[in-house]
Subunit: 347 residues, 2 copies
DNA sequence: CGCTATAAATGGAACGTTCCAATAAATCAA
DNA sequence: TTGATTTATTGGAACGTTCCATTTATAGCG
């Protein structure tokens, strides 16, 4: 049944009674071939169960159609949503994106990038792992392969970035909490080795500044960007003498964790402590209580990144402009007013 | 900076003053090369920024080190967890898995498989998209590329499957509901074009049978395997004259949807209506109320699938045994007793 | 009919590796 | 010293495609 030796273009040529060049032309959909010949060739292809060998082709063409998508945490639904947005665009362009997970591990990331490069990818869309060294992409850049960063950027690097307006999002969220009457605020999760962290924290601090929240009433708790991290942050925060009454969380996972920890203490997010997330993953809407979060148009960012990548490949450049996506605050149930300071809020 | 023409093995040979064969040997870590020569070559590799061309190599070797992972719905956290389990194993084996998403679309799946095959994958781990035609994998089988199905199987196919014991899981869950005093039961979500559906539904029906729940008191509502589908199922179920008091859901996403719909009606899962999910995704534990679900050891199944694949590749066979993973019911808050039929349940 | 113009098909070199068989150099045994 | 053995290194022929430069067939025109 299964012919052992895999068929090549030459086998097809023999089968169809044409030359290998003709077969190649048919494979590429060239109009130079007489339609009848083309169908004959196509039939032969079908008959022998031929599979195109893209490796061999790339040897001559140096122009693959695969794009690598390197993601730091596939279990975060946020990245899955991002990937889906990209795929929509790539599919339309006849490009197949291969996704690889680095699990937030720079060593693993190194391996994955190496493998992708060896495979001859046309471009790389990357959300770099935490702790990525500044030089990690130098070789890839030198090889002339276009790279686009999504969501995260590296400290000093000329690689284009597609990301939401983290600063603005944090300002929006923080102002919302202040308007709700909260005067002792916390920022939960993330760590300072992430540029995004500084952007989001920076927005938080700026809003505090503008609205006269003194530094002594701001609590910053670093932590893992996961549910577990969020739980830990909340515990730390409530252990203090003058605990905060509201928190802006680094992302939704942290927010979910904080809410879970609240429930464990018999407290309710929204009523007893205000929680705001970041990213607005699909789950946020369906949580209980529903999570107030900064919406970043995840799928839109994914589409944007894919478009930028396609353009870079097409114009064979390695440069592109950054894109900072608009954000908006989606107010739900988790961010109620401060009970001890019922200022009220019209909005 | 970036040398335009990419360096080849020959450039390195020139740089290091050896022959291309020597470079090739060094690249493969052969012990035949004098250590000093090897270091000299490695230095040259570093200096010229060489990237190995795996396509060219495969032309001779016909033995790539990439494995394709084809997943039907990346946004379902279940599959992300599965992927993570596989990656652990593959990483240790020095293999890089490329993940591709089919978004439950057989046409897209066709494209993805084609692309992966052209890329010369060593093997394929697949969770087939809904509506996959029985012949979809014939060509791949004929090409001698090992395939392993995970979670889902195709109606008639000799391809090995790694999946949980769906039947048993459904029996466990259903018996739990019956012990809780429920006498009118529903099965929510999924559709009959999925083999898994029949396995899970079969377990449900069998348990009903054994415990004397008449067919008239069993309600089966097909639906999308998503939150949205779950919401619709619940609405349909409660619209009837003699609505059920408990439901076993096709998977956790459906269960979350059903719980959400309950809340919209002012009802509470656990207290007013019992809900049991399937898969026990990480989220289940953290939901409110926490979801009772059938745990399938997702990561373990992923690891198992990866191991089977590695063994198939190594022994160059296309056959392997099915693996049916053990399941267990994790009882949480969402599956309380029937209020109108407080039989009680010691366990 | 001969000529040119167009259309269709073809052979061969190249792409960057691997691997076999062969060579060159170093070591050993007698 | 000579030949045998071991250790390092090397050319060259594949592998399956693309693409350029040709060749062959077909049509058009006077």
């Amino acid at each position: 049944m299964a012919s052992r030796a895999k068929a090549t273009i030459l086998d097809i040529a023999r089968e169809a009674g044409v030359s290998k060049s003709t077969v190649s032309l048919v494979l590429q959909g060239s109009g130079l071939i007489r339609p009848e010949t083309a169908t004959r060739v196509r039939k032969a292809i079908e008959d022998v169960g031929y599979v195109y060998n893209r490796g061999a082709a790339n040897l001559r063409k140096a122009h693959s159609n695969v794009i690598g998508m390197v993601i730091n945490d596939l279990t975060n639904p946020f990245f899955a949503e991002l990937a889906v947005g990209m795929e929509r665009v790539f599919q339309a362009a006849g490009v197949v994106p291969f996704i690889a997970n680095t699990a937030e591990n720079p060593v693993r990331q190194e391996e994955v990038l190496k493998s992708l490069m060896e495979q001859g990818v046309a471009g790389l869309i990357v959300s770099p792992a935490r702790g990525t060294t500044p030089g990690a992409f130098r070789r890839i850049e030198a090889a002339g392969v276009p790279i686009v960063f999504t969501m995260r950027r590296l400290p000093e690097s000329r690689i284009p970035v597609i990301a939401p307006d983290n600063h603005r999002g944090a300002v929006l969220a923080t102002e919302h909490l202040i308007r709700k009457g909260h005067r002792r605020l916390a920022f939960f999760g993330g760590s300072s080795d992430l540029v995004v962290y500084h952007e989001r924290l920076g927005g938080f601090l700026e809003a505090c500044e503008t609205h006269g929240i003194p530094a002594s009433d701001r609590l910053i708790v670093e932590g893992e960007t996961s549910r577990k991290g969020g739980m830990a942050c909340l515990e730390t925060a409530l252990a203090g003498a003058q605990p905060p009454t509201a928190a802006l969380c680094f992302n939704d996972a942290v927010a979910f964790g904080a809410m879970l920890a609240l429930r464990k203490r018999g407290l309710e997010a929204g009523a007893d402590f205000a929680v705001v997330g970041f990213d607005d993953v699909a789950e946020a809407e369906h949580y209980s209580p529903a999570l107030t979060s900064v919406a970043v148009d995840t799928a839109g960012l994914g589409e944007r990144a894919a478009h930028v990548m396609l353009k870079m490949i097409q114009s064979r450049t390695t440069r592109a402009e950054d894109h900072i996506g608009a954000v908006s605050l989606v107010v739900r149930e988790s961010s109620g007013p401060d009970r001890n300071n019922e200022v009220g809020d019209a909005a």
